[in-house]
C-alpha cells in the first residue's frame, strides 16, 4: 500500500501546484490589468498635456519641469573656450 500512498501524495502535490500556478497566473493578470488601466490615458489625466491648444504655450502650470535660474553675463573680450554652434 505504501507505493500507492506515495503516488497519491504525489498526485496531491501536483494538484496543489497546479492550483498555485493557476492562482498566480490569475493574480498576475489582474495586477497587470490594473496597472495598465491605471496608466491608460483614458483613466489617467496627469500626463494630459495642453498640446491640443497652442494657446497653452503660455501655461505657467508647468511646475514639474523647472527651467531654473540662468547664470549668464558679458564675456568682456575673453576668447571663447568652447563654441555653442547649435544642434
Amino acid at each position: 500500500m505504501e507505493p500507492s500512498s506515495r503516488i497519491a501524495k504525489a498526485r496531491r502535490r501536483v494538484r496543489a501546484a497546479r492550483y498555485a500556478i493557476g492562482a498566480l497566473a490569475v493574480a498576475g493578470f489582474a495586477v497587470f490589468g490594473a496597472a495598465a488601466r491605471d496608466a491608460h490615458p483614458a483613466t489617467h489625466h496627469s500626463v494630459q498635456a495642453a498640446q491640443d491648444n497652442q494657446a497653452a504655450q503660455d501655461d505657467q502650470s508647468s511646475d514639474s519641469f523647472s527651467f531654473g535660474t540662468p547664470s549668464v553675463g558679458d564675456s568682456g573680450s575673453a576668447v571663447p573656450q568652447i563654441q555653442s554652434s547649435g544642434s
Binding site: 576668447v79 571663447p80 555653442s84
Partner: protein, 278 residues
C-alpha cells in the same frame, strides 16, 4: 581640452578630465536611445508603437523628462514626433542620409493625451513612435557634469558648467556662463533635401513637418543644460513669439534670423548687454 565623438557630435571636457566614465555614459545612452540602432531599446519600443509596454528604468526616466518638457512647452517639444521625423527623411544617421529624396508628406503628430507613463509602464492609446532627441543630449550633458564632479561638459552646442566658462555663439559673440546650462537650437546644422526642398530635424507638431520659422539659431541659458535645450527648441518653434515666451519664464534668449541679424529678448538684454554698456 579632452574630446571624443558620441551621439553624432563632439563631446568636450576640460583638459585632463577623466573622460572614461563620461564616454561610457554617452555611449550607453546613445545605444539605448538611438532611433538608428535597430537593437536599441527605443527602436524595439517603436517597432510596437501601440498598447502597454514595460520599459527600463533609464528609458522611463528619459521619457519622464520628455513628457515634463512637453507639458512645459504646451506640447511644442514633444517625444511623439518619431514618425514625423522619419517622414521628413531623417531615418538614418545624419552622415548616411541621401542628399535628396521623394517629397515630404507630413505626418500628424499624436496628441500627448494618447501617451501615459507610470513608472516602467508606458501606454500608448494610438500608434506613437517616440523620438527622445528633445531631451537625451541635454540630460546626458547634465549627468556627465555630475559624474565629473565639476568643470564643464559640452556636446554639439549644448553646455553645462559649474564654473565660469566663456562660450562662443553663432555669429561671433560670446558670453560667460557662470553656471547651469546653455544650448543653441539650430536649423542650419542638420539639413537635407526632400523633393528638392531643404529639411531639418525640428518638427512643428501643428503641421507634422519641419518647422518654417524666421530663426536660424536660438541660444538660451537656463538652470541646466536640459532646461536650456528644451527652452531653445520651444523658442525656435514659436517663431516671432519665441523671445517673449522666454521672457515670461525669466530666460535670456538670443536669436539669429535668416539674414544673419541678431535679436535678443529683454532678459538677455538685462543680463548680458546692459552690464556691458554700464
Amino acid at each position: 581640452m579632452t574630446t571624443f565623438r558620441s551621439m553624432g557630435c563632439t563631446v568636450e571636457l576640460p583638459e585632463g578630465a577623466d573622460d572614461r566614465r563620461v564616454r561610457a555614459l554617452f555611449d550607453e545612452r546613445d545605444r539605448r536611445f538611438s532611433r538608428f540602432h535597430p537593437d536599441s531599446e527605443l527602436s524595439s519600443l517603436n517597432r510596437m508603437p501601440l498598447g502597454a509596454s514595460f520599459v527600463s528604468e533609464e528609458l522611463s526616466r528619459m521619457l519622464a523628462h520628455a513628457l515634463r518638457a512637453a507639458r512645459a512647452t504646451g506640447g511644442l517639444v514633444t517625444p511623439a514626433v518619431g514618425a514625423a521625423v522619419v517622414a521628413a527623411g531623417y531615418d538614418d544617421d545624419f552622415d548616411r542620409l541621401p542628399e535628396d529624396g521623394p517629397p515630404v508628406l507630413p505626418v500628424r503628430v499624436p496628441s500627448l493625451h494618447a501617451l501615459s507613463l507610470r513608472g516602467p509602464l508606458l501606454v500608448r492609446a494610438e500608434p506613437i513612435e517616440l523620438d527622445l532627441n528633445c531631451v537625451v543630449k541635454g540630460a546626458t550633458v547634465d549627468d556627465a557634469l555630475a559624474l565629473l564632479g565639476g568643470g564643464f561638459v559640452a556636446a554639439g552646442g549644448d553646455v553645462a558648467t559649474s564654473a565660469p566658462l566663456v562660450v562662443g555663439l553663432p555669429g561671433g559673440d560670446a558670453v560667460t556662463l557662470h553656471g547651469g546650462g546653455l544650448a543653441t537650437s539650430s536649423v542650419t546644422k542638420r539639413r537635407w533635401r526632400r523633393g528638392g526642398e531643404e529639411q531639418h530635424h525640428l518638427i512643428d507638431p501643428e503641421t507634422g513637418a519641419p518647422a518654417r520659422v524666421p530663426w536660424l539659431d536660438v541660444t538660451v541659458a537656463a538652470g541646466s543644460c536640459l532646461a536650456a535645450d528644451v527652452a531653445a527648441k520651444a523658442a525656435l518653434l514659436l517663431g516671432a513669439a519665441g523671445p517673449s515666451w522666454l521672457d515670461r519664464r525669466g530666460l535670456p534668449g538670443r536669436f539669429v534670423d535668416e539674414q544673419g541679424d541678431v535679436h535678443v529678448n529683454e532678459n538677455w538684454r538685462q543680463l548680458v548687454l546692459l552690464p556691458l554698456a554700464a
